[in-house]
């Protein structure tokens, strides 16, 4: 067995027969992990759905307090970051080091921009006393009790999403360093592909969060 090591790729782990098997295992592993993430966020989406069906107006009214422009900007930012991420994966597959660094760097910047906008939004909520707790005050709300429930869900859902963004940016930073060291070649670029899957997933969660939280009843006047 040891004689074969000389011709084996340094990244091939001992319990795998070849790099293809190793890559497929890693990809399947990441897909499974993303399934767990769907179920994880799913609990929150379920709670949201049940309460929104029960109290549609309170939710609509509370939703209108969110800044659609900032939310929309963030959506655009994240979608762009998924593009740059896909480009980073391509660059990894092509073994193009400088492109890898460019696209990973852009992805990180866009991710940070997203978090920055979120921070601005959160700060505004604090200022306007829309954070659930003893300080919560929603002037003119017709149903402040369930409006507060909306905001509870808003903070937990976007907070959890933001936490995933932070982890994602951390992953990108690690990838950036690895890319700088020339680790990703045509033969081996699994970490980039697999992290790309994660990044796209976090993007997709936002694609669901945005309309559900920001766009309730925006098409017409509030009843």
């Amino acid at each position: 067995m040891s004689g074969a090591h000389a011709t084996q790729h340094p990244r091939l782990q001992h319990h795998f027969d070849n790099l293809d098997q190793q890559f497929e295992a890693s990809a399947l592993g990441m897909w499974l992990f993303l399934v767990t993430e769907i179920l994880f966020f799913g609990g929150l989406f379920t709670a949201y759905m049940i309460y929104r069906l029960a109290y549609p107006q309170a939710f609509a009214e509370a939703s209108h307090e969110l800044d659609v422009v900032l939310g929309g900007v963030n959506t655009a930012v994240l979608i762009s970051s998924s593009l740059t991420m896909a480009m980073a994966v391509w660059a990894a597959q092509m073994g193009k080091r400088s492109s890898q660094l460019l696209f990973l760097g852009l992805t990180i910047l866009l991710g940070l921009a997203f978090l920055g906008v979120k921070a601005v939004e959160y700060a505004a909520k604090f200022e306007h006393h829309l954070v659930p707790g003893p300080d919560f005050r929603f002037e003119g709300a017709r149903d402040p009790v369930h409006a507060q429930l909306f905001f509870s869900l808003y903070f937990v859902m976007t907070g959890l999403h933001a936490l995933h963004m932070v982890i994602g940016i951390g992953l990108m930073a690690v990838l950036f360093v690895m890319a700088a060291r020339g680790r990703f070649t045509k033969a081996y670029h699994t970490p980039v592909e697999v992290s790309g899957l994660y990044w796209h997933f976090v993007d997709i969660v936002w694609i669901f969060l945005f309309p559900l939280l920001y766009l309730i009843d925006r098409h017409g006047p509030v009843h």
């Binding site: 107006q57 309170a58 017709r142 149903d143 402040p144 009790v145 369930h146």
Partner: protein
Amino acid sequence: MAPQVDALYFFLVALTAFFTLLISGLVVYFAVRYRRRSTDEAGAAIHGNLRLEIAWTVIPLVIVLFIFGWSAKLFFTMARPPADSLDVYVVGKQWMWKFQHPDGHAEVNELHVPVGTSVKLTMTSQDVIHDVYIPDFRVKADVLPGRYTHLWFKATKPGRYRLFCAEYCGTNHSGMVGWVVVQERAEYQQWLAGGAGTGTMAQTGEKLFKDLACATCHQADTTGRGPTLIGLYGKAVTLDDGRTVEADEAYLRESIVNPRAKMVSGFQPIMPTFQGLISEEGLLQLLEYIKSLKAAPSNATGVPAAAAATPEKK
């Protein structure tokens, strides 16, 4: 109902005993009959048998569907209190039970009921989830904060029957016990005549209605700033978002503690919330009062008599 529940229960006991003995017996028999007789012996080359698989899939399936049907039918009856049930209102709190009879009798941890009469408990909790369990009647239902739940029973024999809290609720969960005292009609009448001390629940509710100035907006006709409550209980109500809901107990309770959650179409959102200002007992008394406001002007409650049920506003 209890004997019917027991019938199903003991059928299941017999079923369990039968299959346990059958299969264990078979296993023991095979173990003895086919015990290894020489060191290198191996078992027969048997792969399986499709007919057997189908048989022991279909037969258990039929049996369980039978049990399902039987128990579902029984459960349906258990979940539907007869229309002419005697109402009793229950408020559970850590760690005691408060019972209110519509005639005003209030009891703590003990509930007097007449034999041979359906009794319907309408229950809520002041704090955490509790549960009313009367083993001898084979009834049980969770008691929730912020909601009303129900159970009903009809006692067939006079006596004292244990009542337990059956949903863990903290320190003194096992102390939250009581008795259901089932009396012969005559005895029960005597107990009732002993006097409640206060007026009926509806009367106490009416007093609350006045004290809290509800009548300011809720008038006998449609001219008030709020919808009329005459004949409201059980009616279909149209909300301002187009939904139609039934004005049941849950709706009425919610409308008092969080009026803006469901707004009746055609009215302004000006009703203040009474959350924390009225106890659960008080809410139940108001409920009884509102229930008593029938469309026909036959009750002398002081509210100006209404000619007919209010037409729905759109």
